[in-house]
Structure formats: structure tokens, C-alpha cells
Amino acid sequence: MKKIKIPIGPQHPALKEPISLRITVEGEVIKDADVRLGYNHRGIEKLAESRTYVQNIYLMERICGICSHSHTTCFVQGVESLCGLEVPKRGLFIRMLVCELERIHSHYLWLGVAAHEAGFDSLFMYTWRDREVVMDLLEIISGNRVHYAINTIGGVRRDLSEVQKEKILEGIQFLKKRMEYYTNLGTTEPSFVARVSGVGILPKEKAMSLCAVGPTLRASGIASDIRKDDPYAAYDEIPFSVCTATSCDVLGRVVVRIKETMESIKIVEYLVKNLPSGEIKVRAPRKVKEGEAVSRYEAPRGENIHYIKSNGTDKPERVKVRAPTLANYPATIEMLKSGFIADIPLIFAAIDPCICCAERFVEVIDTKNENTQVLTMAEIKKRYSKSQGLKKGSSVWPL
């Protein structure tokens, strides 16, 4: 049968964010997929070099609106290790509390989106209604629904009162009850299970070799979680288990995320009940000592890495962000292969793509002499036109 290429995106009904996919199909079956990035690239890493560390916290927060706390925590941890600051216990607990609430909010959101892509819109509306409870809790703690701005270098900016603690416990009880209902629904509702099971298979070995991260990796039966493997903040003293599934498909990813939400709810309960007393932050120096730091963090979507190089001034010399979605792209292409066209949105949604997180700059490494080069957009266009034999002025990516 003849192979046909279908362009999807950047603005497409199935996609919530601008990304372009080129799918090669043979009849209904996907043979190959190509991901084109850069529509959401804003140049945050470069911008970070011209701002002070405190200003950068607010910039890092705006890498992504869903996992905003992940990026700030990851950045702040790196800076703290550079300065050699010891964050007070209470500060760490509040930081982890917001982190787990964010995970709950992100997984609720994802469950809704996945249900929507599977054609189960009532579940989408249900989960988003219940998600408002988490949003309220986050608003109670931080004063904002999405960008919490709770982190600062050396601790957190807001303390928790007794009333807030009670409110959190109350809200968490409600979320727990609802999640139990969804666990039951998501794993037993025959039409939903039929839609998601066996779709987007990612075998264990492939998941390993393609460096998948987060729930995508855990759904392929590998128990890897930065909170357990390389504990940051105070995760080493909190009891929780890493959730996995062995079915390696979208159903597995649903199960992993539902289980993880239940774990997060337990962690939040533990954190609120065992909140130590004392200070919430220490004073941080304006200038950071010269050095390099790598900080790892388990975001709702997987492992988040920040690299910070400091040159002794109040501005970083280099900040590099490796967001979890970027690590999951190779695995997504593997999952798409031999699937059907109708499965594309579902498979793509199953990695919980956060495109704005993953848009970093282009660095070309010559494999022959290991020269590294940063290319401008114009240069990339020029090279691409040359390699494709395009005429001057013709569209580079014809759509």
C-alpha cells in the first residue's frame, strides 16, 4: 500500500498546545512519526542569564503553568546547594506540601484530558470539577491558583496556620473519596478500559533504552522515582511507595497516575500532621559563590533536571533546563508506531505532554570533531533549505 504523510498541528483540534507531528501512514496504520518542535520556544535560558537569582525564580515558574512549582523548586535547590544553605525543616515540609498538592492537581487534570481523548467526556467534567478543590487549597496556601510563587532561595515565603491545616485535611478527605471512585470507574468501566488497554504499547526494554521518565516509565514496570532514588528536600523520611504497572499501555499509565494521586494524598496528610515548628526560611546571600550545580526533581510528568553555573555575581552564567516531556518524545514515537490514526491524540496525551516545558534551544554537536555550535533560526532555515534543495524564498515547512 502507498505510504502517505499527514501533517498534524501546530494548531490542531487534537492538540492543546502548538506542536507539529508528521505521521507516515499506510492505510490506517502509523508507520513512522516525526515530531517538530519550537513553536513555543521563548528563549527562557538566555533570558535567565540577564536576570538576578531572585528574579529568575519568577521566570522559572513561568516555564510551565501546570508544573510551575517543580521548576522553581528544582532551580532553588540548585542555587541553595551552590550557596551551601540549609533550609529549615518547616520550610522543606511546606515546599513538599505544595509539591504534592501540585501533583494531585496535575494528575486530576491529566485524568480528565485522557478521558476526553478517549471520548469519555463526563469523566473529564467530573475530574475537572473535583480539581477545583485542589486549586482552592493551593490558593489558600499561596494566594494564587496556578503560579504559587511560594519558593524563595533559602526556604518558602508563606507560613501555614492552624486554620489552613484544617482546611487542607478537609479538602484532602474529599479528594480521596473522589479518587477512590475514579479508581473503580477507570479500571472497571468496560468501554473506557476497552478504549485504553492495548493502545500505545511501550515494552520494558524499550522504555529503558529510550530513557522514558515518570509515569510513562513506571507504567512499563520500572520502579524509578527521584523521590526514592535520589531523595531531595525531606523525602527520605516520608513513608510512601513507588507505583508501577506492568501492562505497558495507556491503561497502565492511567492506573499509575491514579495510584500516585492516592500516594500523594497520603503524603499530604503526613506532612500536615507532622509539620515541624520553627523558621520557614534562612537569609540567602545576594551573590552566589562560583560553581556548578545539578538539581533533580520528580515533577508530575517525570524527572526534571536543572543545571546552574554561577560566576560569583548575582546573575547565573548559564541555566539549563531538561524538562520531563523532552525525555519522553523518543518513547512517544515508539508508542505511535503500528498504532492507528485514531489513537494519536490518546497516545500523545498519555505521556502528559507539556510542550511549553520542553522547548529549549538548538545546539548542534558535530560527531566527527565534536565541535559544539549554537545555531540561530535563520541559520537553521538556511541549512535546511540547502539540504532539501529548496529555492530561496520558498516555505521551509510547507503546510
Binding site: P18, Y39, R42, G43, K46, Y58, G65, H147
Partner: protein
């Protein structure tokens, strides 16, 4: 008579297209929030559409990136007349924290005409709904 009928039907059910021009997802989830049960703009007849050809109102989020510039213009041209643009969030208004970044042009108004600005980083769903209602009032008073 027919014009009045068209205006009436337009006021009662504006269909919106959500266009992410390089946003950080925060405004986007707040827009989806506005469509889901707690805020539920569907009770006003506002419906989220996936194709620009079905839409009356384009809801833009985020600063305009160089990659998206041509696509935004194309989507704007694909939307049938009369069309309206709402810029949601500080980024869509002026560029917010990304101002000065090499790949960011600025607010959405640098590329296409904007009718309503909704400030906030991100604006609450209530604010977004308020923006849509203000647009409808503007429509109502216009001929």
C-alpha cells in the same frame, strides 16, 4: 430584520477558538477551567471549538513567538467575519516576563488586532468570563 436575527444569534452563542501562541499553559488551564462545571460558560452558549473556521472569537494566550507569528495570522485569516480576539493574560497583552527574549515578538496585538484584554498572570476563570461578557456587551451596543 435578518441582520437583527444574526446579531441576536451571535450574542447568544459565541463560539470560541483557543489559540496558544506560546503560553506557559497557566492561562490555558484557566480557560479550560472556565469551560468546566464550576464556572461553566457553556450555560451562556459559549462553546469551545477546535477549528478556526467554526469560531467567532479567538482566545489567545501567551506571548507571540517567532515560530507562531505566521500561523497566528493564518488562523486569523481562516476565521470567518465578523471575528473578535481576546488576549488572555499578561503575556498576551505585552509579553510579561518574556519581554526582551530573542524569540518573543511581544503581545498578540503586535500581530493581529485585539478587542479585549484580560490582565493577570494567569487571570482567574472569573476574570476570563468577565472578559467574554464585556466583549458581548461591546457587540450588543455596536451596530
Amino acid at each position: 430584520m435578518i441582520e437583527r436575527l444574526i446579531k441576536w444569534s451571535r450574542l447568544k452563542s459565541p463560539w470560541i477558538l483557543h489559540l496558544n501562541t506560546g503560553a506557559c499553559n497557566a492561562c490555558d488551564i484557566e480557560i479550560v477551567d472556565a469551560l468546566t462545571p464550576r464556572f461553566d460558560v457553556e450555560r451562556f452558549g459559549i462553546l469551545l471549538k477546535a477549528s478556526p473556521r467554526h469560531a467567532d472569537v479567538i482566545v489567545c494566550t501567551g506571548p507571540v513567538t517567532r515560530q507562531m507569528k505566521d500561523r497566528i495570522i493564518r488562523i486569523y485569516e481562516q476565521t470567518p467575519d465578523p471575528k473578535f480576539v481576546i488576549a488572555v493574560g499578561a503575556c498576551a497583552m505585552s509579553g510579561c516576563v518574556y519581554r526582551g527574549a530573542y524569540n518573543v515578538i511581544g503581545g498578540v496585538d503586535q500581530v493581529i488586532p485585539v478587542d479585549i484584554y484580560v490582565p493577570g498572570c494567569p487571570p482567574r476563570p472569573d476574570a476570563i468570563i468577565d472578559g467574554v461578557v464585556k466583549l458581548l456587551q461591546k457587540l450588543e451596543s455596536s451596530k
